[in-house]
């Protein structure tokens, strides 16, 4: 029987576990700072303290999720493995198992202690990061695709189309988010298939978006156009069938229906805000002379929207993208907090926080605090990153 770790030992153990992440982080920073003058906006980020802190925090979790998810490093235990003797044990308690055999490859300690079911808090936090890093950026990208594809024409054409879309966007935005989640992300709703239909609508947007993108750019060169559009349609529709309809003809792509609901709900909540931002930017940019020049050249409206207007809106959109990933992370946490859309066991930061909350009054802090700090640091990092990006892109 080994002795419990002291605070120094706990930190030391964590450093050992995080070694791959930290190495990758230091390497990235060393390389980036060396070549920062040649790296454009990304390089300029290293002139801003806030931006660097933000990037470090974000990369920390990205690398952690990568090493833990792909290479199976960092985490010390199976996040779902329970050990009756480890229930509510303090950080640094040596690992033991009352019933069954201990996994010989598992770590010697519960670095951050055990939760109310005797699972390793540290490994659960790490497992939670994989989920967040996987879902939040992709959900945000999809929300952007939807918001951009609808916001561009709404701002560019105006009129009835704009009025209707803006009305719908305001409708969704006036709806309390949690109520929406409660209505959408329940097993009963999954039964009716509504999320699948919504997914079917929302997920077709990226395919439409890319197809129009190539068509408008290369319609003068049909050969090139056919190649690009063809590739987009084949890959896009294949992914689309797999993700939205669970009907991949090759059977490779599947998306757990549970996760699909969460994904759809998050995209649905974010898209209207993106729509509003894009629409506002388009209203501003479309008065520029280069847009008029494209019009007098006889360019089609989609070429103008996608190739003349959109690239020039990238600055504010990039900043909003970072902020929105943070917001999505918060939303995912909220979902977990209310226990929506998850299997009851799975490691999720929001769920871990609410589970740990119940024990706070019993003075057991180590279950709720680590996931809370993890979520906080990631969101904070994204916000700092956005702030740094905004500051540096303005400085020109």
């Amino acid at each position: 029987m080994t002795d419990p770790l002291g605070w120094g030992g706990i930190i030391g153990q964590m450093m050992v576990q995080f070694a791959p992440t930290l190495t990758a982080l230091i390497a990235t920073f060393a390389l980036s700072i060396t070549y920062k003058r040649r790296l454009g906006l990304y390089g300029k980020l290293f002139d801003s303290t806030i931006g660097m802190i933000g990037l470090a925090l974000v990369l920390f979790w990205v690398y952690t999720a990568f090493f833990a998810g792909v290479l199976d490093l960092i985490a010390t235990h199976d996040p779902l493995d329970q050990s009756a003797s480890m229930k509510k044990k303090l950080p640094g308690t040596p690992y033991s198992k009352l019933i069954g055999k201990a996994d010989p490859e598992a770590g010697a300690y519960y670095i951050l202690g055990g939760d109310n079911l005797g699972r390793d808090v540290f490994s659960r936090v790490i497992a939670g990061s994989i989920k967040v890093i996987l879902i939040a950026p992709f959900a945000t990208i999809f929300a952007f695709m939807v918001g951009v594809t609808l916001g561009l024409p709404a701002g560019y054409y105006g009129g009835k189309f704009d009025t209707v879309l803006s009305f719908i966007a305001n409708l969704v935005m006036a709806f309390p988010v949690i109520l929406l989640f409660y209505l959408l992300v329940t097993p009963e709703i999954v039964h009716t298939g509504i999320p699948v239909y919504m997914a079917a609508i929302l997920f077709i947007f990226p395919v439409i978006f890319l197809t129009i993108l190539w068509q408008s750019r290369y319609y003068t060169q049909p050969a090139k156009r056919n190649i690009y559009v063809g590739i987009t349609l084949v890959i896009g529709l294949w992914l689309y069938l797999g993700i939205a309809w669970d009907a991949d003809p090759l059977g490779l792509i599947r998306f757990p229906p549970n996760l699909l609901v969460v994904f759809v709900a998050v995209v649905f909540v974010n898209a209207p805000t993106v729509f509003r931002i894009v629409r506002g930017l388009v209203l501003d940019i479309k008065t520029r002379d280069y847009v008029a020049a494209a019009q007098t050249r006889g360019e089609g409206p989609w070429y103008i929207m996608l190739w003349e207007i959109l690239p020039n809106a990238r600055g504010p959109l990039l900043v909003d993208f970072c902020l929105r990933i943070g917001y999505t992370t918060i939303l995912l946490g909220t979902l977990g907090f209310f226990g929506l859309g998850l299997e009851s066991e799975s490691a999720d930061w929001g769920k871990m926080i609410i589970d740990g909350r119940k024990l706070l009054s019993a003075n057991i802090l180590h279950i709720a605090i680590p996931p809370a700090l993890a979520l906080l640091s990631l969101v904070l990092g994204l916000n700092f990153l956005a702030d740094g990006l905004r500051e540096e892109s303005l400085r020109d």
Partner: protein, 337 residues
């Protein structure tokens, strides 16, 4: 605005009246071992099997309430409580007539439930606004007044941090630090249940702070951005070169212009604050509006859920209206006539 409210309630009505939800309702109200057939009978007896739009119309009060002679021979009417006399019941009984229906979880009239809960949440929100708005504006103005200064950097970092901390994180941290004996401060109470009857600083400050902190950061950032922009504008330079002192420039020339943008933001914060309320009320066990919403939603208490949606949508729309009016008042460039 009315249209928005109608659309939203229609949507909620649709989602709550989906077949699986009704089945669940029937089972919770009757018993869990009902057969499919029994479920169908139950739903038909209670008017749930009517066409969707008919149900919606009745709920609104534009269609006469149903009177159904059930398979069990009992006659039930929407407008008459279970045991009431059907003959004397009014024909219409929707929200337009002030009848919000019966909550199936709390077993009370939805109108009363909402009124109670709204009063509790109103108390919470009042203090949140009292704490949040002035401090957010102050932070924003102080930071934006001299862009790039040390004060600015410190205050900006603080406001970014608070706006990046969701309520369920800050709430947990606050409880851990200020309310648990593990850290040992024990300044405040970790639950606000007792604050429902009589709120004290000790039992009410943490929930208020938790909601306020999240919104505060965001408003402060908006105010800062707006203030910083105004301070670099030409008319501020005009004022400076007119010999106006710095204090007067900020108060007389910059403030009104700088508040135009954040004002709308404060008002649009309300849907978000409502979120915060739900989380914080759950977290601190304060049985207000948000808590009732969670209760209603997790039990598919259709009438209560609808009532809550209507009220929250109205609150949101009202704040939008106030923000439009205030915007016109603040910005002389837009006149009402």
């Amino acid at each position: 605005m009315l249209l928005t409210a109608l659309c939203l309630t229609l949507l909620v009505f649709y989602l709550t009246n989906l077949a699986p939800n009704l089945e669940k309702l029937a089972k919770t109200q009757g018993n869990f071992r009902m057969t499919d057939e029994e479920v169908t009978t139950y739903l038909a007896n209670h008017g749930y099997a009517q066409p969707f739009l008919a149900k919606y119309g009745q709920w609104l009060g534009v269609l006469p309430g149903y009177v159904i002679i059930g398979h069990d021979g009992q006659t039930r009417a929407k407008c008459a409580p279970e045991s009431g006399v059907i003959e004397t019941a009014p024909r219409f009984c929707g929200i337009l007539q002030g009848d919000w229906g019966q909550s199936s979880v709390i077993k009370k009239d939805v109108g009363t439930v909402i009124a109670d809960k709204l009063a509790l949440t109103g108390k919470l929100m009042f203090w949140v606004l009292v704490l949040m708005v002035p401090s957010a504006l102050l932070i924003g103005v102080l930071a934006g007044m001299r862009e790039g200064s040390r004060t600015d950097r410190t205050l900006s970092t603080i406001s970014i941090t608070t706006s990046a901390t969701p309520e369920y994180v800050s709430g947990v941290l606050f409880i851990a630090v200020f309310a648990s004996s593990a850290v040992g401060l024990k300044w405040f109470k970790g639950t606000a249940t007792s604050a429902m009857d009589h709120a004290t600083f000790e039992n009410f400050f943490l929930p208020v702070l938790t909601i306020a902190a999240y919104g505060m950061g965001y408003i402060a950032r908006m105010t800062r951005a707006s203030m910083a922009e105004v301070m670099t504008s030409q008319y501020i330079r005009t004022a400076r070169l007119k010999g106006v002192s710095f204090g007067n420039i900020v108060v007389k020339h910059a403030l009104r212009n700088a508040l135009i943008a954040p004002f709308t933001v404060i008002m649009l914060q309300f849907p978000w604050l409502l979120n915060g309320v739900v989380i914080v009320e759950t977290l601190f066990n304060y049985k207000g509006f948000g808590w009732a919403m969670v209760l209603a939603a997790s039990n598919n208490d259709i009438e209560l859920l609808l009532g809550i949606s209507v009220v929250s949508v109205i609150v949101v729309l009202l704040t939008q209206l106030i923000s439009d009016i205030g915007y016109v008042y603040l910005n002389p460039r837009i006149s009402v006539t």
